[in-house]
């Protein structure tokens, strides 16, 4: 539980995410998705309760948690824009105590996976939004973490880039490498495309936790899920139905 001023930004959240699962956290702005991910990433201390990541307590075993996690945000400012992609990746890899040989090998492997090999020597500031996001995901994978936390990783990307990133996340990162992904998104179609299970948050509370199919069954919104969704609409109706029942 995390209190922010007079209210708890994340409250009474109890979720277990399985290994090799893509777990989506959905909710409108201010729902507590990012706060929840930051709690897992040890960036925020819970005022009560606890979170375990890969079996490690986020407060008592912070270092182990950090070694197990790769944190990926859509925040493009989190890189040094005047440095090249390679230099950025080398710098951040150094913080994970990898030696130069390991770093070089890992960057080459990831550059191949994300198809950015020929772009890595250009300055980060010159990259397209899609490439910047690819580099952000590569950074999260440098130390080969077991779990990836992704906070709206495809925000403001074009459909083709989103599709290629979805493929990499689903096929390469999860299916082939068996990593666990916890992903916050506002887009229901992204959750439908990627996630095995989802949790819907509102005002810091979990309103629903289960598979997309279960969500469809509960809300009766099958038709919406096959079209560009309006999460707000579904969400408001869902919350209303929860309150009236």
């Amino acid at each position: 539980m995390r209190k922010k001023g007079q209210f708890a930004a994340v409250n009474k959240v109890s979720i277990k995410v399985k290994q090799g699962e893509i777990f989506g956290i959905l909710g409108p702005n201010g729902a507590g998705k990012t706060t929840f991910l930051k709690l897992l990433a040890t960036l925020i201390l819970p005022s009560s309760g606890k979170a375990l990541v890969n079996g490690y307590d986020t407060v008592a075993q912070e270092k182990m948690v950090k070694s197990s996690l790769g944190v990926i945000t859509s925040e493009k400012r989190s890189f040094y824009w005047r440095l090249s992609g390679t230099r950025n990746l080398k710098f951040f890899a150094g913080l994970y105590n990898l030696n130069s040989k390991q770093i070089q090998g890992k960057i080459e492997e990831l550059a191949h996976l994300f198809n950015v090999r020929e772009l890595l020597d250009a300055r980060f500031g010159e990259y397209s939004s899609g490439t910047k996001q690819k580099i952000a995901i590569m950074r999260g994978l440098l130390h080969n973490p077991q779990i990836l936390i992704m906070d709206e990783p495809t925000q403001s990307l074009d459909p083709s880039t989103i599709h290629s990133l979805h493929l990499i996340i689903k096929e390469k990162i999860v299916r082939e490498q068996g990593k666990t992904v916890i992903l916050a998104t506002q887009r229901l179609e992204e959750a439908k495309e990627l996630c095995h299970r989802i949790a819907i948050m509102d005002k810091g509370l979990i309103r629903f936790c289960g598979t997309i199919t279960e969500f469809q069954r509960i809300t009766g919104y099958n038709e919406v899920l096959t079209e560009p969704p309006s999460l707000e609409k579904i969400f408001i109706k869902f919350i209303n139905s929860e309150e009236s029942s």
């Binding site: 040890t42 960036l43 925020i44 944190v71 925040e75 989190s78 040094y80 951040f92 994970y96």
Partner: protein, 252 residues
């Protein structure tokens, strides 16, 4: 290219700064010599070392806080602190370049002073000076870490830096020996590490004092560091915890 130009401008700036103090010391001439007998009597040499070594005070006080602030503003702090490397290590290494650059700056000041403005460093005890530099760096760093803690929580408006910086310039003996201060004010000078650092540096570089001869000033810096480093680390840890509880660690 921009980095080389910046470095070149720093060098030229150092020359101008030294030249101003050179002519100022010529204006005052021998009239100030009686106050400087324990430093060899030459006002320009006294000033040169005061200005050069006060760079460490500036870097020590500002370096850590600036590193945090820069990373907060750049947005890179979050990516750094989600790594297993501890924040104190990250900040120490982020500031290391600034200390190295300050050392280079001091060297430039001393070289320009020696070769262009005839400062006599022929008796200098280099080893003692290096030890003083190390002790000074550690002592000033403790104040810098406290300053960084403040930035961590309040993000700006750092009173530690302001207070210690101004008091050190006023009372630490950068531009004049502390002996010209009123007796009661001199007592406060001895609470500042800069006082010991400058006195020892001047004696080592201008008069070639041995390490034994400088031991009381070195000991003062050592005691200051031994007391303040644990205190500053404790405060820093507290500040990080507070920022994490408030969720403001990466806010700017």
């Amino acid at each position: 290219m921009s980095y080389q130009l910046s470095f070149l401008l720093d060098l030229v700036g150092a020359f101008f700064s030294i030249a101003v103090f050179y002519f100022l010391s010529r204006l005052l001439g021998k009239s100030v010599a009686p106050y400087l007998t324990s430093y060899g009597g030459d006002f320009f040499s006294f000033l040169l070392i005061g200005i050069a070594f006060s760079r460490y005070l500036y870097v020590g006080l500002n370096g850590f806080a600036r590193s945090i602030r820069n990373e907060q503003l750049a947005g890179t702090l979050e990516a750094m602190i989600t790594s297993p490397t501890s924040l104190s290590v990250i900040i120490t290494f982020s500031s290391l370049w600034k200390f190295l650059f300050a050392s280079l700056n001091i060297l430039v000041y001393l070289l320009l002073g020696t070769f262009l403005f005839s400062v006599d460093l022929s008796k200098a005890n280099i080893l003692a000076a290096v030890i003083i530099v190390v002790l000074t760096t550690v002592a000033f760093s403790s104040l810098g870490i406290i300053s960084a803690s403040f930035i961590m929580v309040f993000k700006r408006g750092d009173p530690i830096n302001w207070l210690v910086g101004n008091l050190s310039i006023l009372l630490g003996g950068v531009y004049y020996p502390i002996t010209i201060l009123p007796q009661w004010l001199q007592k406060f000078s001895y609470l500042l590490p800069l006082t010991y650092s400058l006195r020892a540096a001047r004696k080592a570089l201008l008069q070639g004092y041995s390490i034994r001869g400088l031991s009381s000033d070195m000991m003062a810096l050592l005691i200051f560091s031994a007391l303040m480093i644990p205190v500053s680390l404790f405060i820093f840890k507290y500040a990080v915890r507070k920022a994490k509880i408030e969720g403001s660690l990466i806010h700017y």
